[in-house]
Symmetry: C2
Subunit: 296 residues, 2 copies
């Protein structure tokens, strides 16, 4: 398989669907649609939607059938980035090389754009115009799973602990709590959603969730390493923005070499979780490698 | 009927259910549960949940059967208050006589508390442990309706226009846009949810939605009048906080006497919408009067 064209094709489908689901920029009141579209189309790699589609495809399902769910996952991810970047939280002026939402639209609109995206994600998941071939009870379960992953005991809980831990000594257990919830929970629910919609059997679900858990942690470790190394290249010293902020990171706790080793171990475990899957799971395998090589 | 005991009984049921649905304050990470509970139990009058229950009861349903939906509506309302009070939006230090969420817990936790409440509302609506006697397809429709009322073309859209209109000359059409979305949409969806769950017929739904639309606007007009009169009593002049901020209000546009007259007209229309309902709709009638008398 040509993995690059797989990724660009799936990304294109997500982008097209998102453009269809989110009202155009000239919709009244225009500023909120401009703000939402600005962040939604700011060059995201669509990891979560692609994981959802790849999980469905690994079980013989069709990527297009899960597009609304894939897009809802991306909306939730984008809302979390807009809110995380706010001055009161991470106070970031730039993301992916362009100004953050509140730097362009102001803080009030950025808060409301995040709120609207989160709300819209659930509207999409419940929309009677979409996912017509999916049983209503299964869709309810999906909404429950995704909201759990995004909420108190998932993404928001992880972000709370992250905010609370800034500038403090953090142990590995707390770091694991933050990682597994702040990014891990939504990655796991992305895989789970795609697998559930393709009618995954319990053993398949178990294997895919194991895969997702490993790559979720690997993703965060890779991100932490990149934060240090990216900074090293730019300013020639080993302090990245995470370190400046006193953010808890894996390399800060166990060192960069140990972190790389952990990343490779997690990759091995993720791949071994897929051992009984056939070539339809090849995109999932390639995504795992891609993550550890820090290309996501 | 004893209306006061009706209100206090329904409020008590909502409060008890909310305490059950939201994890206790000692749950890890504690600060987010403290923050959420602080605002959720800050003395709200539970108008939206009571409207939902009263609509169900007007059609012969049982208030307890819709409690999870009633509570989800209150969670969404509370999230919107926490975010509206933030320095970047209304910058309010007090609400209902106590400090606002961000004054106690800080801005970052207040943002996340709002995010968590919105997410949790949808989790509750989709939770397989609740609403077991409601058809899954109907529950999906409910989630779709409520998210629509809370989103771009409902509450968030109204709030966007409110923020955008501050300090500007606003005409009656814009003011109506703000009112009908910022507060009206969630009031209408509260009534609609309760009515749908009780199996309301099309003619009943139409009448109840008409009732809800009138009281939604009446509620906002009453709130605007109270903002002026409350302030008058306190500082002895006719400028309230809305006026200081250049907020668009009904009395500012048409005058206070005309606003009172409009409130009475809306009450008459709301009551006439219920003319074919029997004594089971008495709580809805009393709520409408209560709103116009500015006791809500």
């Amino acid at each position: 398989m040509n993995f690059d064209s797989y990724l660009s094709d799936r990304k294109k489908r997500v982008d097209m669907a998102l453009r269809e689901y989110i009202p155009p920029e000239h919709t009244y009141p225009t500023i909120i649609f401009q703000a939402v579209r600005y962040s939604l189309f700011a060059g995201g790699k669509r990891l979560r939607p692609i994981l959802c589609m790849a999980a469905t495809e690994a079980l013989g399902g069709s990527a297009d059938d899960v597009l609304p769910v894939a897009c809802a996952l991306e909306m939730i991810h984008t809302y979390s980035l807009i809110h995380d970047d706010l001055p009161a939280i991470d106070n970031d002026d730039y993301r992916r090389g362009i100004l953050t939402n509140h730097k362009i639209f102001g803080e009030s609109i950025a808060i409301l754009a995040g709120d609207a995206l989160l709300t819209e994600a659930f509207r999409l998941l419940a929309n009677p115009d979409h996912l017509k071939n999916i049983d209503a009870a299964k869709r309810l379960d999906l909404i429950h799973d995704i909201s759990e992953a995004a909420g108190f005991f998932g993404m928001v809980g992880g972000q709370v602990m992250d905010v609370q831990s800034e500038g403090k000594e953090v142990d590995l257990a707390t770091l694991h709590y933050i990682h597994s919830r702040k990014t891990g929970a939504m990655i796991v629910t992305s895989i789970r959603s795609g697998a559930v919609l393709a009618g995954g059997k319990p053993s398949e679900m178990e294997a895919l969730i194991r895969y997702a858990t490993q790559i979720g942690l690997a993703f965060q470790i890779a991100d932490d390493i990149l934060n240090i190394e990216g900074e090293e290249k730019r300013i020639g010293k080993s302090t990245g923005t995470d370190r400046t902020r006193g953010k808890a990171t894996y390399p800060a706790l166990v060192g960069i070499e140990e972190s790389r080793k952990k990343g490779r171990e997690l990759l091995d475990e993720a791949l071994s979780a897929l051992v009984s899957f056939d070539e339809k799971a090849e995109p999932l395998r390639r995504i795992a490698r891609h993550i550890v090589e820090r290309d996501f």
